[in-house]
C-alpha cells in the first residue's frame, strides 16, 4: 500500500495537470468559435460565386473546358499538406499525415522514385514529420507559418503559385491534404485534387432554374468570364482548406482536452480512495498500538 505522503503528492500533481487541460480546453473553445465565424462569413461569398459559375455554364453552349482543367500525363506531382502548428490535439495531425503518406507511397510512388514529387507544407507538424522520415522528397517550407493568422491576400499566393506552375507545365497534378471541418467533435483528414480542376458540371435545382431563365448579358464574354472565375474559385477553395483545417484543429484540441480533464477526474477519484485507505490503515495501526500498550501496562 502506498504511503500517505506519496499519494498526497500524486493528487497534487494530477490536480495541477487538470487545471492546465481545463484552461486549454477553454482557450480552444474560444479559438474554435472565432475560426467557425470565419467559415460562416466566407460562405455567402463562396456560394454566390459558385452560383455565378453555374449560371454561365448553363448558358453556355459547347465546351466549358479551361486551361486549368487540362488532364496530362503526370510527370510532376505536387502535394500540399495542411496540418496544425501545435500538437496536443489528439490524432488530428497524425490522420492528415497518414493520408499524405498514402499518396506519397501509393498514387505518386512513381513520381517520387524519379524525383518529381514536390511537397509543400502549411503547419509545422506535417513538415517536421516529413523532414524526418522522407528526406528524399523535395519539401517546401515557405508557407509553414501562414496558419497563425489566416489572411486572404497572403493565402492566395499559394494557389496562384500552383496555377502558374500548372500553366508552365512545372506540375501536372496537385493534391491538397487537409482537415475537413464538420463540427467541433468531427473532423476528417481529406485529400482533394486541386489541379487539374474537374470540369464544372451543370446542377439542377430550383433556385438555379429561376436564374437560368433570365436572359443575361455577359460582360466580357462567357468564355472570358469563365477564365477569370475559375482561378477565383480555386483561390477561394484553397482559402477554405485553411479555414477548415484551423477550425478542425481547435475542435480536435478541445475534444482531446475535454477527455484529458475527464481522465484526470477518474484518476483523482481512485487516488482519493487509496489516500483514505492509507489514512484509515494508519489510524487503525496507531489505535491497536495504543490499546496493546495499555493492556501491557495493566497486566504488568
Amino acid at each position: 500500500m502506498a504511503n500517505l505522503k506519496e499519494v498526497r503528492e500524486r493528487i497534487k500533481s494530477v490536480i495541477s495537470t487538470q487545471q492546465i487541460t481545463k484552461a486549454m480546453k477553454m482557450v480552444s473553445a474560444a479559438k474554435l468559435r472565432r475560426a467557425q465565424e470565419g467559415i460562416v462569413r466566407f460562405r455567402p461569398y463562396a456560394t454566390k460565386l459558385q452560383a455565378m459559375m453555374q449560371n454561365i455554364i448553363a448558358n453556355m453552349e459547347g465546351d466549358s473546358a479551361s486551361e486549368l482543367g487540362q488532364v496530362r500525363d503526370v510527370q510532376k506531382a505536387f502535394i500540399v499538406v495542411v496540418t496544425s502548428n501545435k500538437g496536443l490535439c489528439g490524432a488530428f495531425n497524425t490522420n492528415i499525415i497518414k493520408e499524405a503518406i498514402k499518396l506519397v507511397e501509393g498514387r505518386y510512388a512513381e513520381q517520387r522514385a524519379s524525383g518529381n514529387l514536390y511537397m509543400m507544407f502549411i503547419g509545422k507538424k506535417g513538415y517536421d514529420y516529413f523532414k524526418k522520415h522522407y528526406a528524399d522528397i523535395r519539401l517546401m517550407d515557405d508557407y509553414v507559418g501562414i496558419l497563425e493568422k489566416i489572411n486572404f491576400d497572403e493565402v492566395v499566393r499559394i494557389p496562384e503559385f500552383l496555377m502558374d506552375s500548372f500553366k508552365d507545365k512545372d506540375l501536372d497534378e496537385a493534391v491538397v491534404v487537409y482537415g475537413e471541418f464538420k463540427n467541433a467533435a468531427v473532423q476528417f483528414a481529406r485529400a482533394e485534387q486541386f489541379l487539374p480542376v474537374p470540369k464544372p458540371k451543370k446542377v439542377e435545382d430550383e433556385e438555379q432554374k429561376r436564374s437560368f431563365k433570365a436572359d443575361y448579358i455577359f460582360e466580357p464574354s462567357k468564355e472570358k468570364l469563365l477564365q477569370t472565375l475559375i482561378p477565383t474559385i480555386l483561390k477561394n477553395q484553397f482559402y477554405k482548406y485553411l479555414l477548415d483545417t484551423s477550425a478542425s484543429e481547435h475542435g480536435a484540441r478541445m475534444t482531446a482536452m475535454e477527455n484529458a480533464t475527464e481522465n484526470a477526474n477518474e484518476m483523482l477519484k481512485e487516488l482519493k480512495i487509496s489516500y483514505n485507505k492509507a489514512r484509515q490503515e494508519a489510524i487503525t495501526r496507531e489505535l491497536s498500538e495504543i490499546v496493546s500498550g495499555a493492556k501491557a501496562l495493566e497486566e504488568g
Partner: protein, 81 residues
C-alpha cells in the same frame, strides 16, 4: 433595389440603394433600378453605391464580379487594402 457587397472575409455592404457604379471589365457602368440581368467581371477600381439624399458608400477593389437579377445586385470583390 437590394444591394449586397461580399468579400471572402466579410460582408461589406447590405442594403437598399438607387445607384451602383462598378468598374466593369469592358468599361465602367452604372446599375439603376430595373437593370437587365447581367453578369460581369470587374477590374481594379472603385465600387460606389448611392441612395438618394445620402452620401455614397465606396469600396476600392482589386478584382471582382457583379451579378444583377430582378433588382438584386450582388457584388463579389477582393478589396484593396
Amino acid at each position: 433595389m437590394q444591394v449586397v457587397v461580399l468579400s471572402p472575409e466579410k460582408e461589406i455592404f447590405n442594403g437598399e440603394a438607387n445607384r451602383v457604379k462598378v468598374p466593369g471589365a469592358s468599361g465602367q457602368f452604372e446599375i439603376l433600378n430595373g437593370h437587365a440581368p447581367i453578369v460581369s467581371s470587374l477590374e481594379k477600381g472603385v465600387v460606389s453605391i448611392s441612395k438618394t439624399g445620402g452620401e455614397p458608400f465606396t469600396v476600392a477593389i482589386r478584382q471582382g464580379f457583379v451579378e444583377v437579377l430582378q433588382n438584386e445586385v450582388a457584388v463579389l470583390v477582393v478589396p484593396e487594402d
